[in-house]
């Protein structure tokens, strides 16, 4: 396979300027992640520690195999909302007793680990990842329950939580609950719906109604321990399968449960040499333009992401606004579809459609790298059937059977997002660089389109068009779309699986691909009717 060359000039002004801008962006991103790691803040961390409890990330670190990687998902959930950054939960993929698992943990220092709409979305997404990729799910439970002021947004959807758990069980995907503290009312069903439950002595509290509620309902006097203590559930009710002496003991038991699962991955696994790219991933900071309207060379990105910078390009000189071809990441074979010039023409759509079918034929997972302004518009393109070609591509993407991984690298506008297996096409994983943008179209275009429509409407009604008001409206709309198209905005709403440092792309995709291979990796030969 060819080793990709590079044309990057590290001394160029553009490179230096891009690097500076991206470094600043990443510092901002890392500061946000650091804030999220603080959960509910120092005061609550101190209080939690004073109770002799481990922090959520300390629990996770102890649960994981020493020195194994951990990919935390949706780190910036609830960004820019009135909820705590991180949404009171930590989710991710890590290795426990030699088995890749999804970990879903409450952060009790953050609003008592309660579930708001973002926490729920984050948790449900972790369950989806467990199901789609056939990964055992380990829940670290200590939560005050639903965020009651947010009940309208969480109550109805929240039922899925328990439905998912039992459906995972049905699929033979192990579910484990380690209960460190409160898990009451609805939360009581988490250990109950899991295959295994471990409860920590004098800490776990699992009941439908606490002493005050019981008193109100029946007049019965009771204590927390009698209603839902670990010892009661271990010795009397049988809801707890393992009686842990303390938190460490519970984590040890969790590791032992995973160890006895006799887990075997069903994917065919890595088939290539996982050597490092020849070109330094650090260059990505200077390659990614400050202004995403400037196109950038995706081959330079691939040269810093793929094993040994090796890439075999398919139809290199046809439909050149899109790159297709084969490579591998950490040994896992992938087919790559990457936007090269933003716009998708008929040739690009046809080329992608063929390529998706080829990858399905040989069970090769697909990696989509987004930097698209959408499908080409205009008389000539419409008349040549751009819609039909776009439809072919969407048909192929939607019905493809191999796992899809998505990297939001630049912009992702319009139907291009769909054609490139955007979030709504159920890719296994979507990761974004902190500078990426996603919207139906760019803020300027959108504001411009709205302005043109308003002017047409005024003309039709014979009204005088208020230019000043239009300017103001345009500015407002531009600002709104500018805010909403930000990576943080969609990541906050779990429209991806998290933002990542571009230099980590290869590592993140390697972990994701390995996770994908926990389940069977198989292509589809069934597609919708292709419009010819």
């Amino acid at each position: 396979m060819q080793v990709l060359p590079t044309k990057v000039d590290r001394t160029s002004e553009d490179f230096q300027a891009n690097r500076k801008a991206m470094t600043e962006k990443l510092a901002e991103f890392e500061a946000l992640q650091a804030q999220a790691r603080m959960g509910g803040g120092q005061k609550y961390i101190d209080r939690h520690r004073a109770r002799g409890k481990l922090l959520v990330r300390e629990r996770i670190e102890l649960l994981l195999d020493a020195d194994s990687p951990f990919l935390e998902l949706s780190t910036l959930a609830a960004w820019g909302t009135d909820k705590n950054l991180g949404a009171n939960a930590v989710t991710g993929i890590g290795v426990i007793s030699g088995v890749e698992c999804v970990i879903s943990a409450n952060d009790p220092t953050s609003q008592a680990g309660s579930s708001n709409r973002y926490s729920l979305a984050k948790t449900l997404r972790a369950q989806d990842i467990a199901r789609e990729n056939r990964l055992p799910l380990v829940n670290l439970v200590e939560s005050g329950g639903a965020d009651l002021p947010d009940q309208a947004e969480v109550f109805i959807t929240g039922g899925k939580w328990f439905r998912n758990l039992t459906q995972l069980s049905r699929l033979g995907i192990p579910t484990i609950a380690l209960v460190f503290g409160n898990s009451t009312a609805g939360g009581a069903y988490v250990p109950a719906m899991c295959d295994y439950s471990v409860m920590v002595k004098e800490r776990a509290k699992v009941f439908l109604g606490g002493p005050p509620l019981v008193k109100m309902a029946t007049g019965e006097e009771s204590t927390d321990e009698e209603l839902g203590g670990a010892e009661m559930h271990s010795r009397v009710s049988g809801l707890s399968d393992y009686f842990a002496q303390d938190e460490h003991d519970a984590l040890r038991m969790g590791r032992e449960i995973v160890a006895h699962l006799n887990w075997r991955k069903e994917g065919y696994g890595p088939t290539h040499s996982p050597n490092q790219p020849v070109h330094d991933p650090d260059d990505l900071l200077g390659i990614i333009p400050q202004d995403l309207r400037t196109p950038f060379d995706m081959l330079e990105v691939l040269a810093r992401t793929l094993d040994g910078s090796r890439f075999e390009e398919y139809k290199a000189v046809y439909g050149t606004s899109m790159i297709t071809g084969w490579g591998s990441i950490h040994g896992f074979a992938i087919g790559v579809i990457a936007n090269q010039q933003g716009v998708i023409f008929s040739e690009e759509a046809q080329k992608a459609t063929e390529f998706i079918q080829l990858c399905n034929r040989y069970d090769t997972p697909l990696l989509f790298v987004h930097n698209t302004t959408g499908y080409m518009v205009g008389k000539a393109y419409e008349q040549r059937g751009i819609i039909k070609d776009g439809a072919k591509m969407i048909n192929a993407v939607a019905n493809s059977g191999v796992p899809h991984l998505v990297v939001m690298a630049g912009v992702s506008y319009g139907a291009g997002n769909y054609g490139m297996s955007g979030k709504s096409y159920n890719p296994r994983f979507v990761f974004g660089w902190p500078n990426h943008k996603v919207a139906v179209m760019g803020p300027k275009q959108l504001a411009g389109v709205m302005s043109i429509i308003a002017r047409q409407s005024a003309d039709e009604q014979g009204r005088e068009f208020d230019v000043d008001a239009d300017d103001q409206r345009r500015a407002l709309i531009e600002a709104q779309i500018g805010h909403e198209e930000q990576a943080y905005y969609s990541s906050a709403r779990i429209r991806d699986d998290g933002l990542i440092d571009p230099r980590d792309t290869r590592t993140v995709l390697g972990i994701a691909l390995s996770a994908v291979h926990s389940g069977e990796v198989k292509g589809s030969s069934d597609f919708g009717v292709f419009r010819m």
């Binding site: 992640q33 999220a36 790691r37 990330r57 300390e58 670190e61 102890l62 195999d65 020493a66 020195d67 194994s68 990687p69 951990f70 990919l71 935390e72 780190t75 290795v95 030699g98 890749e100 002496q245 460490h248 003991d249 984590l251 040890r252 590791r255 996982p274 650090d282 950490h330 040994g331 998290g498 990542i500 440092d501 230099r503 980590d504 590592t507 993140v508 390697g510 972990i511 390995s514």
Partner: protein, 656 residues
Amino acid sequence: MIRKVLVANRGEIARRIFRTCRAMGIATVAVFSEPDRHAPFVSDADEAYALNGVAAAETYLLIEAMVAAARATGADAVHPGYGFLAENAGLAEAVIAAGLTWIGPTPRAIAAMGSKLESKRLVAAAGVPVLPSVDLTSIEGERLRAAALVIGYPVLVKASAGGGGKGMRIVRSSEDLEVAVAGARREAGSAFGDDTVFLERYLDSPRHIEVQIFGDHHGNLVALFERECSIQRRHQKIIEEAPSPALDEATRQQMSEAAVTTARTVAYEGAGTVEFLFQEGEFFFLEMNTRLQVEHPVTEEITGLDLVRLQLLVAQGEALPEAVLAPDMVGHAIEARLYAEDPRHDFLPVTGKLAGFEVPDLPGIRVESGVENGSEISLFYDPMIAKVVAWAETRAEAASLLAAALQRARLHGLITNRDLLVRILRHPEFLAGQIDTHFLERHSPVELGAPLPDQTEVRLAAVAAALAAQADRRLRTPLLGSIPSGWRNSPSQLQEATFETEYGLVTVGYRFEARGGITVGIDGAALEGARLVHLSPERVGLAAGRHLRWFTVARMGSIHHVDGPAGYVRLVEQPRFPAAPVEEEKGSLHSPMPGKVIKVMVNEGQEVAEGEVLLVMEAMKMEHTLRAPHGGVVRAIRAAAGDQVEADQVLVVVEG
């Protein structure tokens, strides 16, 4: 001509003899007990013969078995080595009676020198100085004072039937003499039923100096210079050297002559050693050893002779070569005996597996060892691991070289006396030649035996151990092995490993930074300027600022063996999930080492006083007593006489 030699011994001395035999084209036969079945000396020999037993008494101490083994294997000569039957005239006689060649002195010489009293009388008659002594039976008052004056103060009052220090007194002036003698008599009378005591000259700071002699059937008898073996523990030599720093040429000459005179009294043939006590220019005959000595290599190193070869030549009836009869010595040699023992706990022998063993192959260093990587140091025999010998032009250089070789030796899996030996070899008194047999009474073995690396070095060793173990885990992982170690997209804490060390628990934290470099914390404090120059499961190049150190790391379960620039560091990794502590009955008393229970002195329910002996056990040829640490009632006895027990096993529970 000797064609095939059977060595009636084991371990390093057997290997030593085989080596010379091989060089002379002589075939070799080993004999071995059950526990020695896989010992290196057995595979070193051309042939080996099983002794089908375990304890020394049923194997290496059986004369008939040795002769039978020689017959069965067709050996035509027997070498006894040292220890076991080496000074047993019975073996010599049996070998000779069987028509085989005995590689050693005549049975008569062995027997004559075998008795301490007899030999002393014999050599004194020949004019060799012995420690003056007087039998005090019915000697009192003025005559007693006169006797003491003849001997010279200080004097030692000693019980004839003696032993264990009972009835023993040191007297430094005549005023104390009568009281001391009366007291000694009383004590001897009640302890041994015999109140006979005698006076002997007492030496305050004696040096142990011995002369190597060699004789042949042709009447040649030569002294091959002296060895000084004053550094001793429990009356056993641990550091020996040649020549002695205490002797001038004239004294050397006198001692050599005295040694030759001693040997001539029994018409000595072969290798022998005449031991003297030496103090301020005076020397006194102690005893003669009618065999090759453990410390013979230092003589070989300064003379360039192969003493085993000479033994074989003499046994064949040849005359000693001219070069031996006019010996020359060059430079200085020092030997250190490496033992599996704990100098900080009364030199208690240690048993177990020697997981790693390698002495650096430095010019001037010679290693005599019966063990290799993976050998078991059992409780059946002497726990010596090796003799390490250094030769150099000067004594100071030899001491420096030997200390360095010992410090850098790989010695994993067992507690050893290595650090004690290194500290002695670097001790100002040792270097000044100011040594005597009380050296380890003046200088605490607890301090000398403490690990060489200081707290800083131990902590850095812990960092190296954590990182090497990390590298090992990453190499062996079947999953995500090519992903950077401990990678996090949102890192919250360092990877951690906690070790039990000489200085308490040490927690090492580390993180391989995604953009290169490493962050290291030791007990929560950052290691400034931490940088890795090299990292593999076995070797770590760790820099702290501009200071780079290299560590070699080996692991056996939770034990990490780290060899660094300051020496060896043993670390015990603590489990990530500590098990709930097993509640042990209060007052539980443990066996100090593996061994056999000889006698249980108490019964359950019995009241005992503090210090009372509860149980006697035997281990490594020594008796150990288990005493009540406090007064109380014996709650439980967990062992019976004859039981083989493990180290740290609960034997008796005494409720206080």
